[in-house]
Amino acid sequence: MFVEEHDAKQLISAGGVAIPQGQDALTPDAAYSVATAVSGAVMVKAQVPTGKRGKGGGIVKCETPDDARDAAEHLLGSKLGDFAIDRVLVESCADINQELYVAVTIDPTSGGPLLMLSTEGGVDIEEVHATSPDKVQTANINIETGLGAGQAMDLAVATGLDPQMHVPLAGMLLTLYGLFRQYDAELLEINPLAVTKGGELVALDCKLVIDDNAVFRQPGAGPERHIGTALELEAKEQDFLFVEFDGDVGVLANGAGLTMSTMDAVTAHGGQPANFLEVGGMAYKRATPALALVLKNPKVKSLLVNLCGAYARTDVIAEGLIAGFHELKPELDVSFCIHGTGEDRAQQLVRDELGIEPHDSMDDAVREAIANAAAYAGNRQ
């Protein structure tokens, strides 16, 4: 779950991290009011769940409240990438002496938290890492003991910053690591972390991604703005794992691995999948709404059902699909391949109820579904 900057900054501010003075605004007039209250130059920042806002024109420096109103007017209602801007954050401009980069993330290689720190803040850290890896310090953290004060101090000293900054920076690292743990973060990134001319550390931006699996115990995280197409958002509401593509072969399979592999096979045989939709795991009893979701996509011109049950019972999935076919009566061809747990009954159900003979080979089912899509003569638009 991506926590937008204005919410994330409130969370870290409550945790003791200094942030610029400011407030989010939903209208140009509100932006004007915030800029007036803050006094001096402000930054007007589009609040959308994506990085690279600076390059996309989503961050505007304004010298006066009138400029802030104009900038907000321009940004609000426009789009940045895939996202409509419905909120801006208006903040005072910091008196920056130097920009640092700090992030805490999960590291699949070590299986624990990883802290990254660089004196090259404010830029794309991936590029810094690629071009001058010596400028990015990384430290694996033992999650049982946490980040130690000594480890934090070593990292701070190694930056080569003015010695007066070492203790405040080490303190900042400890605070950020604590927030990473407190909020079940996959990523807590401060880029840039400004060193002001007065020697203070201020978080000018904050990217917080909370583990989707831990949102249940993060009531302070606020509402989530879901990312995706209209159909993907509808799927998310129904708790389906669904991704939309541009192709015309609708895919229904069980399990993430098999569903991905089915899409790979469609591509390898010269077709184009219309979606990723998994009806395995706990979703295997909900095949009827899953089918409805795939069919809602007007690009879909044939259906491919590929099941290989392990935990998921293919006969239960088949029952759900058949109920869906009887209810929705889709006017397109369907190709089946069914194996694994419950296959005998599932195959018989498909034969008896739909009059369709399932393929024994997955590749045959894939090829037929691609041919059916190409031959499709109807109009589902």
């Binding site: 831990a214 115990r217 790979d264 395995g280 049950g309």
Partner: protein, 286 residues
């Protein structure tokens, strides 16, 4: 890993899933010796005694492996209880375990020198011997005793490839399901090391997927292996920034692509399939 037939504890045995799978395991040769559910001590499920705590079960039984059938948000508590009690190997099946919980379980397991498989995994199958987890270990269309080691992140893709193997006349020395989360206790590299040393395995099938770097890290070990490896990577057209069902299956910042994994594996000498059905062809061509 689990080289000899383990005595198994089922944590969460009184829940519907725990009971169903305990019965299936018992009916198919698995030595399920005890179950555990807090507050349910003294009951019996499928003829197996149930204890309220893991320690009580350990007082009465030798336990080599605990399989955890509790929902994701309680998985850490159950896993920590088992490891702290001294169970040497644990399998966490649940999907949606918070990743901070997984990191804590893994750190404790390392300190206690316990083996962790999962989370979000289908378990392990030793055809003709036993199975632990939620794969249909009894299915003679998916599993047959043989000499191919199969290791997969995913249960469903594992099922498909196992089906193809058996249809093609092969059998498995073992199937190891590692799980689809970004952090899992047992990695491809761990599994390859085990298969390389296993006298019952002649060749290994590795079934990876997009996201993370576990396949790339395994590639380094493949170079030193004496046994051939056939690999397939799912998610060859997965787009950037979209989770493909599994929490760990996401390409981000251009990293974790199927292309990167396939070339790392091929460079290391693995035989890499582009569609699942190629796996058996590649094995046959060895």
């Amino acid at each position: 890993m689990i080289s000899s037939k383990p005595n198994v504890l089922v944590q969460g045995i009184t829940g519907s899933e725990g009971t169903y799978w305990a019965e299936q395991m018992l009916a198919n040769g698995t030595d399920v010796v005890a179950g555990c559910t807090p507050g349910k001590g003294g009951q019996e499920v499928a003829g197996v005694p149930v204890y309220s705590t893991v320690v009580e079960a350990l007082v009465k039984h030798r336990i080599d492996l605990s399989v955890i059938f509790v929902p994701a948000r309680f998985a850490k508590g159950a896993a920590v209880e088992a490891i702290e009690a001294g169970v040497p190997s644990i399998i966490v099946l649940a999907e949606f375990v918070p990743v901070h919980d997984t990191m804590e379980i893994l750190a404790l397991a390392r300190r206690a020198e316990a083996k962790l498989i999962g989370p979000n995994c289908p378990g392990i199958v030793f055809p003709g011997r036993d199975f632990v987890g939620i794969m249909p270990g009894w299915s003679d269309r998916l599993f047959a005793p043989g000499r191919i080691g199969v290791v997969s992140r995913s249960g469903s893709l594992g099922a498909l490839i196992n089906l193809n193997l058996v249809a093609g006349g092969y059998g498995q020395s073992a199937f190891l399901g590692l799980g689809g989360d970004p952090i899992v206790g047992t990695t491809f590299r761990d599994a390859l090391e085990w298969f390389e040393a296993d006298p019952n395995t002649d060749a290994v099938v590795l079934l990876g997927e997009v996201g993370g770097t576990m396949e790339e890290e395994a590639a380094g070990f493949i170079r030193s292996m004496s046994k051939p490896v056939v690999a397939f990577i799912a998610g060859q057209n997965a787009p950037e920034g979209k989770r493909m069902g599994h929490a760990g299956a996401m390409v981000s910042g251009g990293k974790g692509t199927a292309a990167s994994k396939m070339s790392a594996l091929a460079d290391a000498g693995a035989h890499v399939a582009t569609v699942p059905s190629d796996v058996v062809q590649l094995l046959r061509a060895l």
